[in-house]
Amino acid sequence: MGTRTAIVGVGQTNHTSKRKDVNGQELITEAVKRALEDASLSLKDIDAIVIGNMDHFEAINVVDGWSVDGSGAFMKPIMKVTTGGSTGGTLGSCGYYHVASGLFDVVMAIGWEKNSESDTQAAISTCSDPILERDFFGGAIGPNAAEYAMYMKQFGATQEDAALVAVRDHNNAVKNPYAHLRKLITVEDVMKSPMLCWPIKLLDSCPRSDGACAVIYASENKAPKITARPAWVHATAVSHDYVYFGDYDWEKMPTCQTTVSRVYQRAGITNPLKDVDVMELYLPFSTCGVVWMEFMWMCDAGEAPKLIRRGVFDMNGELPINPSGGVLSTNPIGATGLIRIGEAALQIMGRAGERQVSDVRTAMATAFGSCYWFEATILRSTKP
């Protein structure tokens, strides 16, 4: 049986569009120092480090080695993981397994990205198969736009339904000092924003941010000594699917369904609206916040707009989603999935400041990337 593991500290930079004042290593240090401070630990307390980003965004090979000047990994074990957009989730899992294995007591996971240093679309287009897909690959937005177009046609949902998700996440971000975009918007603002790829508009999409996040995992022996209210990891899962974009079944989101059911099952969750107190979901587009709800067992097929319009997922609703502002407000890709885990942990630890949801005992974080890989983590205030 594995070692029970909890998150005991979270640190992140104030995410923004261009950090010209620091290089990548220095950006990482900010998040690391804040995480150590949050957990009242020093670097010597960290037994191992895992780091991740998307290489082509910064063009640095062997990032784990290079990061030593920023991550504190000097004479420590460090390794690198990367899985595209879901990298943050992968990092969280990696940190967790380091500790759950029983081989390390305190492990830090670091996600970072300096999107401003490259041409995101040029870099991300290289994720498609060079021989079959690359020449006409439209980037991340195409498939999601098509997904919502199909959903609207099938269920009579509207662009305004997606706009409500955008408004919720953007407005939540105003209370998050670390978020990148922090401006109050309305549905009208979203509808008027430039169309990117029908029906997805600018305010329906995520920004490119420079930022870093560090999350500290600790074993059951150490966690209670480090913090009064650790966020215990109850379940983490990911699932993969086909790797050619044309093969994926967009109408059913199979990876979301597989991952979510795995993680609910492992954590004993049957009705998330009741069993989960807060969710930090990786929604790269507002439309995902509509379409994916049914695959996460929140409602029946096509019913999500009703719940959204009723405010079920707002801060004062039954199940607040993205109190941090989510991906629509902040997106340093290598860090984004880890920020979801970190924010969910802060909610459990009671350290989410103005964005704190009251009485959080169970929180969920998801990460999403490339060809529909879906990661999910369930955290609780009690030991598993």
Partner: protein
């Protein structure tokens, strides 16, 4: 540490200019590892793939191989770094209680890109990337510093090349098997002194996969399990000028930890066979010291004494090592695979008779900044 075993291994032949694509290479070794273990894809509950966005020529490079590695519908993850690190992550996942049978894959087609330019990308873009160094020129700085400090000679390094290229003749997977002499090495073209052509590793394409299993699952495997006794990794400073290039402190730290886990006090006596990451001939001598096979600065003396030859006290790189086949990131996992074959008695003509305890070693980064050490036994 709970008992976890390696129950299956698979390697491709290492060679330049392979026409199979990444998915096909990974499929080849995944299938081989499954067959070796007597398992089917359904027996695997999670996958760790290894990729490098630069060598693979695509961002989110794991997408290219995920299906071939058996990730469909499964919990899968991806490491960027040497295969010894991916395997370590696989080990941790298997120890966590969540998974019981883990597939770990690595692949690289070094010949497809420009390896020198790709290696140059590991240097800091803010500072010394513009110097245009690659693996050879940077390692030469280390080689020279090490040899100068301890009086290690180019001939002693050449002996490593002679030994390993010669050993490779017994390894059907090896890329460059040669029957050469120290004189041949000394006469080969000087690339960056003191490193000559025959002191360097080849540009190899290939793949390797292993399957890890809990003791319970290992019982059902086709062959006798090989147990993992200790694993550790450690990373040195990033900038060359901040490191003592003559002393692989990171290796020493990792080795000590792995030995402690495995209960090894005297590696030269207690280890029967070692597969180490000799990207350059001088490195093997340095790794003897870091691994505690001899004292600081005595690597040359150890090879002179013949202990690390086939038939010696502690044969090193019976497979031919990395000098004979260097598929980046694959080579570390291949060292583990070779150690497994040795411990099973399946190493054919490169078998070290009666091997009971084996060591496998991998590196990553400039001048081997990161080391990962594995101790296995049967």
């Amino acid at each position: 540490m709970e008992r976890i075993a390696v129950v299956g291994v698979g390697q491709t032949k290492y060679e330049r200019g392979k026409t199979k694509n990444f998915a096909e290479l990974v499929y080849e070794v995944t299938r081989k590892a499954l067959d070796d273990a007597g398992m089917e894809p359904g027996d695997i509950d999670n996958v760790v793939t290894t990729t490098n966005d630069f060598f693979d020529g695509r961002t989110i490079a794991c997408m290219a191989v995920a299906e071939a590695a058996g990730s469909y519908g499964r919990d899968a993850t991806n490491v960027e770094g040497d295969g010894t690190l991916s395997a370590f992550y696989g080990l941790m996942r298997t120890l966590s209680g969540v998974y019981h049978t883990t597939m770990v894959t690595t692949h690289c087609k070094v010949s497809e890109g420009s390896p020198r330019k790709i290696f140059n990308q590991a240097f800091d873009p803010i500072y010394d990337r513009l110097l245009g160094m690659d693996a050879i020129s940077s390692s030469a700085l280390q080689a020279r510093a090490y040899m100068h400090r301890y009086g290690i000679t180019e001939e002693q390094c050449a002996k490593v090349s002679v030994k390993n290229h010669g050993n490779a003749r017994n390894n059907p997977y090896a890329h460059v098997a040669l029957d050469i002499t120290v004189e041949d090495v000394m006469k080969s073209p000087m690339l960056a002194d003191p490193i000559k052509r025959l002191d360097t590793s080849p540009i190899s394409d290939g793949a390797c996969a292993i399957i890890l299993a809990t003791e319970e699952k290992a019982k059902k495997a086709a062959k006798k399990p090989v147990w993992i006794r200790g694993v550790a990794h450690c990373t040195d400073a990033y900038r060359l000028g901040e490191r003592d290039l003559t002393h692989s402190l990171a290796l020493e730290t990792a080795a000590k930890k792995a030995y402690r886990m495995a209960g090894i006090a005297d590696p030269l006596r207690e280890i029967d066979v070692a597969e180490v990451y000799d990207a350059f001939s001088y490195m093997e001598l340095m790794w003897y010291e870091g691994l505690g096979f001899c004292g600081q600065g005595e690597g040359g003396r150890l090879i002179d004494g013949g202990e690390t030859q086939m038939g010696g006290k502690l044969p090193v790189n019976p497979s031919g090592g990395v000098l004979s086949a260097h598929s980046v990131q694959v080579a570390g996992l291949a060292r583990i695979a070779e150690a497994v074959l040795q411990l099973r008695g399946e190493a054919g003509r490169r078998q070290v008779p009666g091997a009971k305890m084996a060591l496998a070693h991998g590196v990553t980064g400039i001048c081997a900044q990161t080391h990962c050490v594995w101790v296995l036994s049967n």
